[in-house]
């Protein structure tokens, strides 16, 4: 079942003289429950693509359809609602709100919306992400790995249609990186969470079931990954 579709996406930065074509006619279709890794060299346009898919950056041309809705034709209120409910974004720098504690950070997108949430699901997530005894801490009191786990919990909390992660492990050591990848895989398997992750680490990319390679703003390769181990 198709959940996300990008059609003829182009993104051009700057004016004629210093023009940078970050995305060049990208087409992409994502099925529900897929775990996609986008790989490519630095500056190839990975983040740009991810941001446009996530509704936080506007394409120069082309459209993005999420659950049948063309997200860039919506007004601000509807777009914000879409971001709250259907899109989860994770960044390299965890981007937590420093003045809110772990619990408040996790619940923030829900609170920005209607405020109703499933306490059991919350506990389950906190359990899964091993944040139980950190729940009232401020972000500044947590390690990098912990902060990223909070960011993931925040994203999963609103059960988004797609989870978009831009180099989520870029700022972590390999041990913590593996932890995070396992968590993402688990979310993918348990909750059938659709995930699109940007990374420039070929090894980490193999956690995904589909790897898209991007070069100079163009998709140059798109292939399924066969997993031999049984998780």
């Amino acid at each position: 079942m198709e959940i996300l579709r990008a059609e003829n996406l182009c993104k051009i930065y700057g004016k004629s003289g210093t023009k940078v074509v970050a995305l060049n006619n990208v087409n992409l279709m994502v099925e529900k429950g897929e775990f996609i890794a986008i790989v490519g060299a630095s500056g190839s346009g990975k983040s740009t693509l991810l941001h446009i898919l996530g509704g936080v950056d506007e394409p120069t041309s082309g459209k993005v359809v999420l659950n049948g809705k063309d997200i860039y034709s919506l007004n601000d209120e509807e777009q914000s609602k879409l971001r709250r409910r259907e899109i989860g974004l994770i960044y390299q720098f965890y981007n937590l709100i420093p003045t809110l504690n772990v619990r408040e950070n996790i619940l923030l997108p829900i609170k920005l919306d209607n405020g109703k949430y499933d306490i059991n699901y919350f506990n389950e997530l906190v359990d899964m992400l091993d944040l139980n005894n950190r729940i009232t801490h401020l972000p500044s009191e947590l390690s990098g790995g912990q902060q990223q786990r909070v960011a993931i919990a925040r994203t999963l909390m609103s059960k988004p249609s797609v989870l978009l992660a831009d180099e989520p492990t870029g700022n972590l050591d390999s041990q913590n990186s593996k932890e995070i990848m396992k968590l993402l895989t688990r979310a993918n398997k348990i909750y059938h969470q659709t995930i699109i992750m940007v990374t420039h680490d070929k090894v980490l990319a193999t956690y995904a079931d589909r790897i898209i390679t991007i070069e100079d703003g163009k998709i140059v390769d798109d292939k399924k990954v066969m997993h031999h181990e049984n998780n």
């Binding site: 601000d76 609602k81 709250r84 720098f93 981007n95 420093p98």
Partner: protein
């Protein structure tokens, strides 16, 4: 909404340091704007109180009404209080004569009527009791202080006709008390008809004056006109407004209520005030605007994250406005408390300084309506000033903000500034570009500095304008002038005065005009055909004073000094004065002839002249205007006395008496204290029957002088206060901006910029800031100053610009800005030194 609120609240809680700039700017705004309303209501209340004490709290007196009209007015809903006074009797000249010697009271015509009026109660509405008590029945009266004469025994206890005097009053409501009547031809009865007041019920007759107070001061004139008309009054238009012949308005009070419009001085003052208010508001608004811009810029990334988490623009705006609200709720009361305390201190100081001058103590007052209006005004200023940056924030898309503060990009600007580069080198150009990039931070500092300079220069000029409108500082030789008759007690009195005056300048003068015969040898030019006789004033001075003048004139011996080389000559035929005689500098002995040469043409005394010297301000306080320009001779007192002794045998008794009266001129800084002491002393001697004339000119000018001094003080304190707050503002901005730029400096260091280079970059930034401040503020201030100078024409009678260009204020400003910049440089550099590179880079600020 709850989340929005808690987000806002949390932000403020954890970023108290960052929002301090905003809090400060709101407090500053509140103080500035609230103080204006505080000041306005305090001044207004003071004027009202003073008017009430001095002239009564009534609004109008309707004259010549009857009992029915009195009842009607009493039932008028707009009227708060009506106090009736009914004239019942008039003791005429002849009748009064039986009780007192009226010729001694009124010297000219001896005409004197005493009007007896009755009141039921509320005496204090029209008079202030000075002595005794109020009347309790219709056989007791109180009389005006003007009539009380111990020597004539018109005082408490004395019986006049059927009435016994029980009290003495000072009138407040002069019209009601004196009851001048308008005659048929429209002119006023000028016969001195003071009133005596007795107690009695108002009867069903005529001749009732109604001292009326309305419930509210709103629209007072119209109410008065309406009632005056219905009471049968007719009006004339005088200076554009109606004046009813039967209504005596309590003018001072009505003016204090602000109900009198065509008063040019007041209007000009209001214009000044409004100018200053506008500068203050603009200054506050810009400060708030900038502190918001800074704070939002720091939070761009956080706002971006919130956007990416699905917060809508409306939610963000709500959050920011909510923050503003919280900050306002905290800061406005602080500001108000500040202004109150500040105001109280100033009022305390004013009351102390003006203790002996002002009638009522100044009270710090704020009308509830003023409080509400100013809070609304403050809130409006705050929200308008904060709304713009908040609205601007909308444009920022989530992704840009998330990306932005990730790392510091070393500036890559396409623009070049060849002139800056030429003048200050490449570091200078770099610093300049930095300033451009951190525009809003620099703008706030810039605005604070510019505002301080403009305010300083403007207020200094403003102070000059006020001072010039009063014309203080007249550079007199003496302030206190006393005339006493020269009898046995005089020597002792002079001695007593001398001991009070102490070391201050005191001149004892005797003075008389005589005729002199002047040789043609002594005259340069004379076309007055008066056979060589001229009226000349001679002054006998005490030794010390004589020696003082002698020294100035450079005279070696104790001879006379001739003053002024003009002689005023009155020409009967043409009815003009001519000033025609010019004495030679080397004037020789001149001859005196007695005062009335027509009767005693023979007698002559030779007076040896020492020299001629023109003193610009020789003595004479009371004659400061000096409408006579007569030559005068100064001599030692001993010589003067001898001279008068010789003249004695030819002159009338009165002449000799006048000639012997002593004038004492005193110049003293402590004239207020001296005034009290002298009054006490003179009272003593007057009892003994000595005639004493006493005039303390300084005292008359003391009030405006002290008021000016006080206004000056208050304005300067206010100014210093504003500047201090400005500086705090600047320091605060520097702190946040340096904290923010830590990463920038660290990156610059990590790419190899030396500490020295960074310091010199900083230094240049601040120097540019200083230059920019002066480039902006001096022309701006000049504009305001020119405007003030133009406006000052309106309030000075002469129509000339009364103030000179405030060069001193300009110099102080420039020096001030330079020192502030210097301090800022020192401060920033010392702050930066403490930071280490890695710490700064690692610090991740959202």
């Amino acid at each position: 909404m709850k989340t929005i609120r808690s987000l806002a609240f949390n932000y403020l809680k954890y970023n108290s340091k960052k929002v301090r700039v905003i809090v400060l700017s709101i407090i500053l705004t509140t103080i500035l704007l609230f103080t204006v309303s505080l000041g306005t209501s305090t001044v207004r209340q003071y004027k009202i109180d003073t008017a009430k004490t001095e002239f009564g709290s009534y609004h109008v007196t309707f004259r010549d009404t009857n009992y029915d009209q009195y009842q009607d007015l009493k039932n008028n809903k707009a009227v708060k209080k009506v106090v009736p006074i009914q004239t019942i009797d008039k003791l005429s000249d002849d009748e009064l004569g039986k009780y007192v010697n009226i010729k001694n009271i009124v010297d000219s015509e001896g005409k004197f009527d005493l009007r007896i009026q009755k009141m039921e109660s509320d005496f204090e509405e029209v008079v202030t009791l000075v002595k005794g008590r109020y009347p309790q029945n219709d056989h007791e009266i109180i009389i005006t202080r003007m009539l009380e004469r111990n020597d004539l025994a018109i005082t408490i206890g004395k019986k006049i006709s059927d009435y016994t005097i029980v009290g003495i009053f000072q009138e407040k409501n002069a019209q009601a008390v004196y009851n001048y009547q308008q005659k048929e031809d429209g002119s006023f009865d000028t016969i001195f008809t003071p009133a005596a007041i007795t107690k009695g019920n108002i009867d069903n007759g005529d001749n009732i004056d109604l001292v009326t107070t309305y419930k509210s001061s709103y629209n007072l004139y119209n109410k008065i006109y309406k009632d005056a008309q219905s009471l049968g009054g007719t009006y004339e238009i005088i200076y554009g407004s109606k004046r009813y012949n039967n209504a005596d308005i309590n003018f001072q009070l009505v003016v204090a209520y602000g109900q009198y419009e065509d008063f040019i001085f007041q209007r000009t003052m209001y214009i000044f005030m409004i100018i200053i208010l506008i500068i203050l508001s603009a200054f506050s608004a810009i400060t708030i605007y900038n502190s918001f811009t800074i704070s939002l810029q720091e939070r761009k990334k956080q706002l971006g994250i919130l956007r990416s988490l699905g917060a809508s623009k409306r939610q963000l705006i709500k959050m920011l406005l909510y923050e503003t609200l919280i900050l306002s709720i905290i800061s406005i009361p602080i500001g108000i408390i500040f202004s109150f305390s500040f105001g109280s201190i100033i009022i305390f100081v004013i009351n102390k300084i003006l203790e002996n001058i002002i009638v009522n103590k100044v009270k710090l007052v704020v009308y509830p309506i003023f409080l509400i209006i100013s809070v609304i005004f403050i809130l409006l200023t705050i929200f308008l000033a904060s709304f713009l940056p908040i609205i601007k924030m909308r444009k920022i898309s989530a992704i840009e903000t998330i990306r932005e503060s990730k790392d510091y990009k070393v500036l890559r600007s396409k623009e070049d500034y060849p002139i800056i580069k030429h003048l200050f080198g490449s570091t200078g150009e770099f610093a300049y570009k930095n300033m451009k990039r951190n525009k809003s931070k620099f703008t706030t500092v810039l605005v604070s500095l510019i505002a301080s300079v403009v305010l300083f220069i403007t207020i200094s000029t403003f102070i000059d304008v006020i001072a010039s409108s009063y014309g203080v500082d007249n550079g007199r030789e003496a302030d206190i002038h006393i005339v006493i008759s020269d009898n046995e007690a005089a020597t002792e009195l002079v001695q007593n005065i001398k001991s009070l005056v102490g070391k201050d300048r005191m001149t004892i003068i005797k003075e008389r005009q005589f005729d002199f015969k002047i040789d043609n040898d002594n005259i340069i030019y004379d076309n007055v055909s008066n056979d060589g006789y001229y009226g000349i004033e001679i002054f006998g001075l005490d030794d010390a004073s004589y020696n003082r003048y002698k020294k100035v004139a450079g005279l070696k011996n104790d001879n006379q000094i001739l003053l002024y080389n003009y002689l005023e000559n009155y020409d009967d035929n043409t009815d003009t004065n001519t000033y025609e005689v010019f004495f030679k500098d080397t004037i020789k002995d001149i001859e005196i002839c007695r005062v009335d040469r027509k009767f005693y043409p023979d007698h002559q005394t030779i007076i040896p002249m020492g020299c001629y010297y023109h003193f610009n301000n020789f003595y004479i306080t009371y004659d400061n205007e000096l409408d006579w320009w007569s030559p005068a001779i100064i001599m030692r007192m001993e010589d003067y006395d001898n001279f008068i002794n010789v003249a004695k045998e030819y002159e009338t008794e009165q002449f000799i008496k006048d000639a012997n009266s002593q004038k004492i001129d005193i110049y003293s800084e402590k004239f207020v204290k001296l005034d009290k002491q002298l009054n006490k002393l003179f009272a003593e001697y007057r009892e003994k029957g000595m005639d004493i004339y006493y005039d303390n000119a300084s005292l008359e000018e003391y009030e405006p002088y002290m008021i000016i001094k006080t206004i000056r003080l208050v304005l300067y304190i206010a100014l210093i206060f504003v500047i201090i707050v400005c500086l705090i503002n600047i320091i605060n901005i520097l702190n946040t901006s340096i904290a923010l730029r830590e990463t920038e400096f660290a990156v610059l260091k990590s790419v190899g910029m030396s500490n020295k280079k960074i310091n010199s970059m900083l230094r240049l930034e601040q120097i540019f800031l200083g230059i920019k401040t002066l480039l902006w503020s001096l022309p701006l201030a000049t504009g305001v100053v020119l405007m003030l100078m133009k406006l000052s024409k309106e309030i000075t009678e002469s129509g000339k610009v009364a103030i000179s260009f405030p060069l001193r204020a300009y110099i102080i400003s420039v020096v001030g800005v330079v020192s502030i910049i210097f301090i800022m440089i020192k401060y920033s550099i010392s702050k930066i030194k403490k930071n280490n590179i890695i710490d700064s880079i690692r610090k991740q600020s959202i």
